[in-house]
Protein backbone atom coordinates (compact mmCIF):
# COMPACT_ATOMS: atom_id res chain seq x y z
CA UNK A 1 0.00 0.00 0.00
CA UNK A 2 1.07 3.56 -0.62
CA UNK A 3 2.65 5.39 2.28
CA UNK A 4 1.66 8.77 0.98
CA UNK A 5 -1.82 10.18 0.47
CA UNK A 6 -3.25 9.51 -2.96
CA UNK A 7 -3.97 12.54 -5.08
CA UNK A 8 -7.24 11.54 -6.68
CA UNK A 9 -7.45 14.65 -8.84
CA UNK A 10 -4.64 13.15 -10.92
CA UNK A 11 -6.59 9.98 -11.61
CA UNK A 12 -8.56 9.60 -14.81
CA UNK A 13 -10.81 6.85 -13.42
CA UNK A 14 -11.61 5.63 -16.92
CA UNK A 15 -12.41 2.13 -15.71
CA UNK A 16 -14.85 3.48 -13.13
CA UNK A 17 -16.66 5.43 -15.83
CA UNK A 18 -16.69 2.38 -18.08
CA UNK A 19 -18.28 0.31 -15.32
CA UNK A 20 -20.94 2.95 -14.75
CA UNK A 21 -21.69 2.86 -18.46
CA UNK A 22 -21.54 -0.93 -19.08
CA UNK A 23 -22.82 -2.02 -15.71
CA UNK A 24 -25.30 0.62 -14.55
CA UNK A 25 -26.97 -1.99 -12.33
CA UNK A 26 -23.60 -2.79 -10.74
CA UNK A 27 -24.25 -0.52 -7.76
CA UNK A 28 -20.64 0.64 -7.61
CA UNK A 29 -21.54 3.72 -5.56
CA UNK A 30 -23.66 1.81 -3.08
CA UNK A 31 -20.76 -0.03 -1.44
CA UNK A 32 -20.82 0.37 2.37
CA UNK A 33 -17.20 -0.84 2.59
CA UNK A 34 -18.55 -3.30 5.18
CA UNK A 35 -16.24 -6.11 4.05
CA UNK A 36 -18.82 -8.92 4.01
CA UNK A 37 -17.57 -9.74 0.51
CA UNK A 38 -13.94 -10.00 1.55
CA UNK A 39 -14.73 -12.00 4.70
CA UNK A 40 -16.33 -14.79 2.68
CA UNK A 41 -14.02 -14.77 -0.33
CA UNK A 42 -11.42 -17.54 -0.58
CA UNK A 43 -9.37 -15.25 -2.87
CA UNK A 44 -8.96 -12.67 -0.09
CA UNK A 45 -5.27 -12.05 0.50
CA UNK A 46 -4.03 -13.38 -2.82
CA UNK A 47 -1.92 -10.74 -4.61
CA UNK A 48 -2.55 -8.48 -1.59
CA UNK A 49 -6.09 -8.02 -2.92
CA UNK A 50 -9.66 -8.78 -1.88
CA UNK A 51 -13.12 -7.93 -3.27
CA UNK A 52 -13.63 -4.88 -1.07
CA UNK A 53 -10.22 -3.48 -1.97
CA UNK A 54 -10.93 -4.16 -5.63
CA UNK A 55 -14.17 -2.15 -5.48
CA UNK A 56 -12.57 0.71 -3.50
CA UNK A 57 -9.67 0.89 -5.94
CA UNK A 58 -12.07 1.10 -8.88
CA UNK A 59 -14.08 3.82 -7.11
CA UNK A 60 -10.90 5.78 -6.37
CA UNK A 61 -9.85 5.58 -9.99
CA UNK A 62 -6.73 3.48 -9.48
CA UNK A 63 -7.00 2.12 -13.02
CA UNK A 64 -3.43 0.99 -13.41
CA UNK A 65 -3.46 -1.19 -10.30
CA UNK A 66 -6.94 -2.58 -10.96
CA UNK A 67 -6.28 -3.43 -14.60
CA UNK A 68 -2.89 -5.05 -14.14
CA UNK A 69 -3.41 -7.23 -11.06
CA UNK A 70 -3.50 -10.95 -11.90
CA UNK A 71 -5.93 -11.28 -8.99
CA UNK A 72 -8.83 -11.04 -11.45
CA UNK A 73 -7.76 -14.49 -12.74
CA UNK A 74 -7.57 -15.84 -9.19
CA UNK A 75 -11.24 -15.03 -8.64
CA UNK A 76 -13.41 -18.01 -9.61
CA UNK A 77 -16.48 -15.85 -10.40
CA UNK A 78 -18.35 -17.92 -7.78
CA UNK A 79 -20.63 -14.99 -6.88
CA UNK A 80 -20.47 -15.47 -3.14
CA UNK A 81 -19.55 -11.79 -2.75
CA UNK A 82 -22.64 -10.45 -4.49
CA UNK A 83 -24.78 -13.11 -2.79
CA UNK A 84 -23.65 -11.91 0.64
CA UNK A 85 -23.51 -8.19 -0.20
CA UNK A 86 -26.31 -6.16 1.44
CA UNK A 87 -26.25 -3.70 -1.48
CA UNK A 88 -25.76 -6.26 -4.25
CA UNK A 89 -22.63 -4.61 -5.60
CA UNK A 90 -21.86 -6.64 -8.73
CA UNK A 91 -18.20 -7.43 -8.08
CA UNK A 92 -18.10 -10.57 -10.29
CA UNK A 93 -19.12 -8.59 -13.36
CA UNK A 94 -16.51 -5.95 -12.52
CA UNK A 95 -13.91 -8.73 -12.47
CA UNK A 96 -15.27 -9.89 -15.83
CA UNK A 97 -14.97 -6.38 -17.27
CA UNK A 98 -11.41 -6.14 -15.96
CA UNK A 99 -10.55 -9.46 -17.66
CA UNK A 100 -11.83 -8.01 -20.94
CA UNK A 101 -9.40 -5.09 -20.75
CA UNK A 102 -6.43 -7.50 -20.97
CA UNK A 103 -5.16 -8.03 -24.54
CA UNK A 104 -6.22 -11.53 -25.59
CA UNK A 105 -2.60 -12.71 -25.89
CA UNK A 106 -1.87 -11.60 -22.32
CA UNK A 107 -4.74 -13.56 -20.78
CA UNK A 108 -3.87 -16.94 -19.18
CA UNK A 109 -2.70 -19.20 -21.98
CA UNK A 110 -4.43 -22.31 -20.63
CA UNK A 111 -7.82 -20.61 -20.69
CA UNK A 112 -7.31 -19.06 -24.13
CA UNK A 113 -6.06 -22.37 -25.57
CA UNK A 114 -9.09 -24.20 -24.19
CA UNK A 115 -11.38 -21.55 -25.70
CA UNK A 116 -9.61 -21.78 -29.08
CA UNK A 117 -9.67 -25.58 -29.08
CA UNK A 118 -13.45 -25.57 -28.53
CA UNK A 119 -13.85 -23.41 -31.64
CA UNK A 120 -12.19 -25.97 -33.89
CA UNK A 121 -15.25 -28.13 -34.37
CA UNK A 122 -18.93 -28.28 -33.55
CA UNK A 123 -18.50 -30.60 -30.58
CA UNK A 124 -17.31 -27.51 -28.63
CA UNK A 125 -14.85 -29.77 -26.82
CA UNK A 126 -12.05 -27.83 -25.09
CA UNK A 127 -9.97 -31.01 -25.34
CA UNK A 128 -10.47 -31.19 -29.10
CA UNK A 129 -12.48 -34.43 -29.25
CA UNK A 130 -14.28 -34.58 -32.59
CA UNK A 131 -17.72 -35.92 -33.49
CA UNK A 132 -16.53 -39.35 -34.68
CA UNK A 133 -14.28 -39.94 -31.65
CA UNK A 134 -17.04 -39.06 -29.22
CA UNK A 135 -19.62 -41.28 -30.88
CA UNK A 136 -17.16 -44.17 -31.11
CA UNK A 137 -16.21 -43.97 -27.42
CA UNK A 138 -19.80 -43.75 -26.22
CA UNK A 139 -20.99 -46.65 -28.38
CA UNK A 140 -17.95 -48.76 -27.58
CA UNK A 141 -18.27 -48.30 -23.81
CA UNK A 142 -22.03 -48.96 -23.89
CA UNK A 143 -21.53 -52.13 -25.96
CA UNK A 144 -18.96 -53.39 -23.47
CA UNK A 145 -21.36 -52.88 -20.56
CA UNK A 146 -24.15 -54.72 -22.43
CA UNK A 147 -21.85 -57.65 -23.07
CA UNK A 148 -20.10 -57.87 -19.74
CA UNK A 149 -22.42 -56.64 -17.01
CA UNK A 150 -25.24 -58.94 -16.04
CA UNK A 151 -28.62 -57.26 -15.95
CA UNK A 152 -27.48 -54.40 -18.19
CA UNK A 153 -28.07 -56.03 -21.57
CA UNK A 154 -30.53 -53.23 -22.41
CA UNK A 155 -28.40 -50.26 -21.40
CA UNK A 156 -28.56 -47.51 -24.01
CA UNK A 157 -26.40 -44.41 -24.50
CA UNK A 158 -28.23 -42.82 -27.42
CA UNK A 159 -26.45 -40.46 -29.78
CA UNK A 160 -28.41 -38.06 -32.01
CA UNK A 161 -31.78 -39.50 -30.99
CA UNK A 162 -34.36 -37.16 -32.48
CA UNK A 163 -37.14 -35.91 -30.24
CA UNK A 164 -35.60 -37.18 -26.98
CA UNK A 165 -36.78 -35.24 -23.95
CA UNK A 166 -33.30 -34.53 -22.54
CA UNK A 167 -30.20 -33.44 -24.45
CA UNK A 168 -27.30 -34.31 -22.16
CA UNK A 169 -23.97 -32.48 -22.17
CA UNK A 170 -20.80 -34.22 -21.01
CA UNK A 171 -17.52 -32.76 -19.81
CA UNK A 172 -14.74 -33.68 -22.25
CA UNK A 173 -12.64 -35.28 -19.56
CA UNK A 174 -14.86 -38.38 -19.37
CA UNK A 175 -14.96 -39.46 -23.02
CA UNK A 176 -11.32 -38.44 -23.50
CA UNK A 177 -9.58 -39.67 -20.35
CA UNK A 178 -11.90 -41.77 -18.16
CA UNK A 179 -14.83 -43.08 -20.24
CA UNK A 180 -15.92 -45.61 -17.60
CA UNK A 181 -17.05 -42.69 -15.44
CA UNK A 182 -19.94 -42.11 -17.88
CA UNK A 183 -21.48 -45.50 -17.12
CA UNK A 184 -22.96 -44.77 -13.67
CA UNK A 185 -24.70 -41.72 -15.13
CA UNK A 186 -26.20 -43.81 -17.94
CA UNK A 187 -27.39 -46.42 -15.46
CA UNK A 188 -29.15 -43.79 -13.34
CA UNK A 189 -30.87 -42.34 -16.42
CA UNK A 190 -31.86 -45.86 -17.48
CA UNK A 191 -33.33 -46.73 -14.08
CA UNK A 192 -35.19 -43.41 -13.98
CA UNK A 193 -36.71 -44.21 -17.37
CA UNK A 194 -35.39 -40.96 -18.82
CA UNK A 195 -35.74 -40.37 -22.56
CA UNK A 196 -32.37 -38.78 -23.29
CA UNK A 197 -29.65 -38.40 -25.89
CA UNK A 198 -26.19 -37.07 -26.54
CA UNK A 199 -25.54 -35.10 -29.71
CA UNK A 200 -22.41 -35.46 -31.80
CA UNK A 201 -22.60 -31.69 -32.16
CA UNK A 202 -22.51 -29.53 -29.04
CA UNK A 203 -22.05 -32.36 -26.53
CA UNK A 204 -19.16 -30.81 -24.59
CA UNK A 205 -20.30 -29.15 -21.38
CA UNK A 206 -17.42 -26.75 -20.85
CA UNK A 207 -17.12 -23.21 -22.25
CA UNK A 208 -13.74 -21.63 -21.56
CA UNK A 209 -14.48 -18.63 -23.80
CA UNK A 210 -16.77 -17.45 -20.99
CA UNK A 211 -13.88 -17.53 -18.51
CA UNK A 212 -11.57 -15.94 -21.07
CA UNK A 213 -14.20 -13.18 -21.39
CA UNK A 214 -14.03 -13.58 -25.16
CA UNK A 215 -17.62 -12.45 -25.61
CA UNK A 216 -17.95 -13.16 -29.30
CA UNK A 217 -16.76 -16.74 -29.04
CA UNK A 218 -18.54 -17.35 -25.75
CA UNK A 219 -21.79 -16.54 -27.56
CA UNK A 220 -20.76 -18.53 -30.62
CA UNK A 221 -20.25 -21.68 -28.54
CA UNK A 222 -23.55 -21.27 -26.72
CA UNK A 223 -25.31 -20.86 -30.08
CA UNK A 224 -23.69 -23.98 -31.57
CA UNK A 225 -24.82 -26.00 -28.54
CA UNK A 226 -28.33 -24.52 -28.49
CA UNK A 227 -28.72 -25.24 -32.21
CA UNK A 228 -27.67 -28.87 -31.64
CA UNK A 229 -30.42 -29.21 -29.02
CA UNK A 230 -32.99 -27.57 -31.31
CA UNK A 231 -31.96 -29.60 -34.36
CA UNK A 232 -32.67 -32.83 -32.48
CA UNK A 233 -35.96 -31.41 -31.21
CA UNK A 234 -35.10 -32.01 -27.55
CA UNK A 235 -37.14 -30.31 -24.86
CA UNK A 236 -34.58 -29.98 -22.06
CA UNK A 237 -30.89 -29.15 -22.31
CA UNK A 238 -29.11 -30.82 -19.37
CA UNK A 239 -25.65 -29.57 -18.51
CA UNK A 240 -23.93 -31.53 -15.76
CA UNK A 241 -21.17 -28.97 -15.18
Amino acid sequence: MADEALNLSEKKAEFREKIKELLPEGNLNLCFTCGTCAAGCPATGLENMDPRKFVRMIALGLDEEVLTTPWIWMCSLCMRCIYACPMKVDIPNMVGLARRTWPREKRPKGIIDSCDMALRNDTCSAMGANEEDFQFVVEDVAEEVREEQKGWEDLQAPVNKKGAEFFLNQNSREPVTEPDEMIPLWKILHLAGADWTYGTKGWAAENYCLFAQDLENWEKIVRVKAKAVDDLGCKVWLNTE
Binding site: P42, L77, G110
Partner: protein, 135 residues
Protein backbone atom coordinates in the same frame (compact mmCIF):
# COMPACT_ATOMS: atom_id res chain seq x y z
CA UNK B 1 -20.75 -32.74 0.19
CA UNK B 2 -19.71 -29.74 -1.83
CA UNK B 3 -22.43 -27.34 -3.03
CA UNK B 4 -21.35 -26.54 -6.59
CA UNK B 5 -21.60 -22.76 -7.11
CA UNK B 6 -22.88 -23.24 -10.64
CA UNK B 7 -25.74 -25.49 -9.55
CA UNK B 8 -26.64 -23.93 -6.20
CA UNK B 9 -25.76 -20.26 -5.70
CA UNK B 10 -25.72 -19.32 -9.39
CA UNK B 11 -28.69 -21.34 -10.63
CA UNK B 12 -31.32 -22.99 -8.43
CA UNK B 13 -30.42 -21.85 -4.91
CA UNK B 14 -31.20 -23.55 -1.60
CA UNK B 15 -34.09 -25.71 -2.92
CA UNK B 16 -31.70 -27.72 -5.11
CA UNK B 17 -29.19 -27.89 -2.24
CA UNK B 18 -31.97 -29.45 -0.13
CA UNK B 19 -32.76 -31.89 -2.94
CA UNK B 20 -29.11 -32.95 -3.10
CA UNK B 21 -29.07 -33.56 0.64
CA UNK B 22 -32.22 -35.68 0.34
CA UNK B 23 -30.49 -37.81 -2.31
CA UNK B 24 -27.19 -38.05 -0.44
CA UNK B 25 -28.84 -38.99 2.87
CA UNK B 26 -30.95 -41.60 1.08
CA UNK B 27 -27.80 -43.03 -0.48
CA UNK B 28 -25.31 -43.02 2.42
CA UNK B 29 -27.72 -43.09 5.36
CA UNK B 30 -28.63 -39.98 7.34
CA UNK B 31 -26.31 -40.94 10.22
CA UNK B 32 -23.34 -40.96 7.82
CA UNK B 33 -23.87 -37.51 6.34
CA UNK B 34 -21.95 -34.60 7.87
CA UNK B 35 -22.56 -31.15 6.42
CA UNK B 36 -19.69 -28.70 6.11
CA UNK B 37 -19.95 -25.15 7.46
CA UNK B 38 -21.06 -22.84 5.93
CA UNK B 39 -23.21 -24.71 3.46
CA UNK B 40 -25.85 -24.49 0.70
CA UNK B 41 -25.91 -21.02 -0.90
CA UNK B 42 -23.42 -19.77 1.70
CA UNK B 43 -20.89 -22.49 0.96
CA UNK B 44 -17.47 -21.49 -0.34
CA UNK B 45 -16.30 -22.11 -3.87
CA UNK B 46 -13.76 -24.93 -4.16
CA UNK B 47 -11.52 -22.87 -6.43
CA UNK B 48 -11.87 -25.04 -9.52
CA UNK B 49 -14.29 -22.79 -11.43
CA UNK B 50 -13.96 -19.66 -13.51
CA UNK B 51 -11.18 -21.22 -15.58
CA UNK B 52 -8.93 -21.59 -12.52
CA UNK B 53 -7.92 -25.19 -13.30
CA UNK B 54 -6.55 -24.10 -16.69
CA UNK B 55 -5.28 -20.66 -15.71
CA UNK B 56 -1.75 -21.68 -14.74
CA UNK B 57 -2.05 -19.99 -11.33
CA UNK B 58 -1.63 -23.29 -9.54
CA UNK B 59 -0.11 -21.99 -6.32
CA UNK B 60 -2.86 -19.40 -5.96
CA UNK B 61 -5.47 -22.08 -6.69
CA UNK B 62 -4.14 -24.22 -3.87
CA UNK B 63 -4.07 -21.25 -1.49
CA UNK B 64 -7.62 -20.38 -2.50
CA UNK B 65 -8.66 -23.99 -2.00
CA UNK B 66 -7.19 -24.19 1.50
CA UNK B 67 -10.45 -22.74 2.80
CA UNK B 68 -12.37 -25.61 1.19
CA UNK B 69 -9.81 -28.14 2.35
CA UNK B 70 -10.14 -26.97 5.96
CA UNK B 71 -13.94 -27.08 5.74
CA UNK B 72 -13.77 -30.69 4.56
CA UNK B 73 -11.19 -31.71 7.16
CA UNK B 74 -13.24 -30.09 9.92
CA UNK B 75 -16.14 -32.45 9.21
CA UNK B 76 -13.90 -35.43 9.94
CA UNK B 77 -15.53 -37.23 7.00
CA UNK B 78 -13.50 -39.71 4.95
CA UNK B 79 -15.42 -39.07 1.72
CA UNK B 80 -16.25 -35.79 0.05
CA UNK B 81 -18.99 -35.92 -2.58
CA UNK B 82 -18.43 -33.46 -5.42
CA UNK B 83 -21.51 -33.31 -7.69
CA UNK B 84 -19.80 -31.12 -10.32
CA UNK B 85 -16.94 -31.86 -12.63
CA UNK B 86 -14.73 -28.89 -11.74
CA UNK B 87 -15.37 -29.33 -8.02
CA UNK B 88 -14.36 -32.98 -8.28
CA UNK B 89 -11.07 -32.15 -10.01
CA UNK B 90 -10.18 -29.39 -7.58
CA UNK B 91 -11.18 -31.14 -4.35
CA UNK B 92 -9.36 -34.29 -5.48
CA UNK B 93 -6.27 -32.20 -6.21
CA UNK B 94 -6.51 -30.39 -2.85
CA UNK B 95 -6.42 -33.76 -1.10
CA UNK B 96 -3.26 -34.70 -3.00
CA UNK B 97 -1.62 -31.33 -2.41
CA UNK B 98 -2.37 -30.98 1.32
CA UNK B 99 -2.30 -34.72 2.03
CA UNK B 100 -5.88 -34.73 3.28
CA UNK B 101 -6.53 -38.43 3.58
CA UNK B 102 -10.10 -38.20 2.25
CA UNK B 103 -11.62 -39.65 -0.94
CA UNK B 104 -13.35 -37.47 -3.55
CA UNK B 105 -16.29 -39.10 -5.30
CA UNK B 106 -18.86 -38.20 -7.92
CA UNK B 107 -22.46 -38.39 -6.72
CA UNK B 108 -23.25 -40.85 -9.55
CA UNK B 109 -20.72 -43.30 -8.10
CA UNK B 110 -22.45 -43.41 -4.73
CA UNK B 111 -25.96 -43.56 -6.23
CA UNK B 112 -25.03 -46.62 -8.28
CA UNK B 113 -23.13 -48.17 -5.37
CA UNK B 114 -26.20 -47.88 -3.16
CA UNK B 115 -28.39 -49.31 -5.93
CA UNK B 116 -26.05 -52.28 -6.17
CA UNK B 117 -25.20 -51.65 -9.81
CA UNK B 118 -21.75 -50.07 -9.74
CA UNK B 119 -19.49 -52.01 -12.11
CA UNK B 120 -15.96 -53.11 -11.43
CA UNK B 121 -14.36 -50.47 -13.65
CA UNK B 122 -16.48 -47.63 -12.26
CA UNK B 123 -14.76 -47.46 -8.88
CA UNK B 124 -11.65 -45.39 -9.54
CA UNK B 125 -12.45 -42.89 -6.78
CA UNK B 126 -13.66 -45.22 -4.04
CA UNK B 127 -11.40 -45.99 -1.09
CA UNK B 128 -10.40 -49.55 -0.18
CA UNK B 129 -13.25 -49.74 2.36
CA UNK B 130 -15.88 -49.47 -0.40
CA UNK B 131 -13.97 -50.71 -3.44
CA UNK B 132 -15.28 -54.27 -3.22
CA UNK B 133 -18.77 -53.57 -1.88
CA UNK B 134 -21.54 -55.16 -3.95
CA UNK B 135 -19.27 -56.75 -6.54
Amino acid sequence: MQDPCQLVRKSFGDPVAEDMRFVVKSVVGEENFIDMTPNMSNNYCCGGGGGYLQSGYTEARHQYGKMKFDQIKNTGATYCIAPCHNCHSQIHDLNDHFDGGYHTVHLWTLICLSLGCLGENERAYLGPDLAEVGL
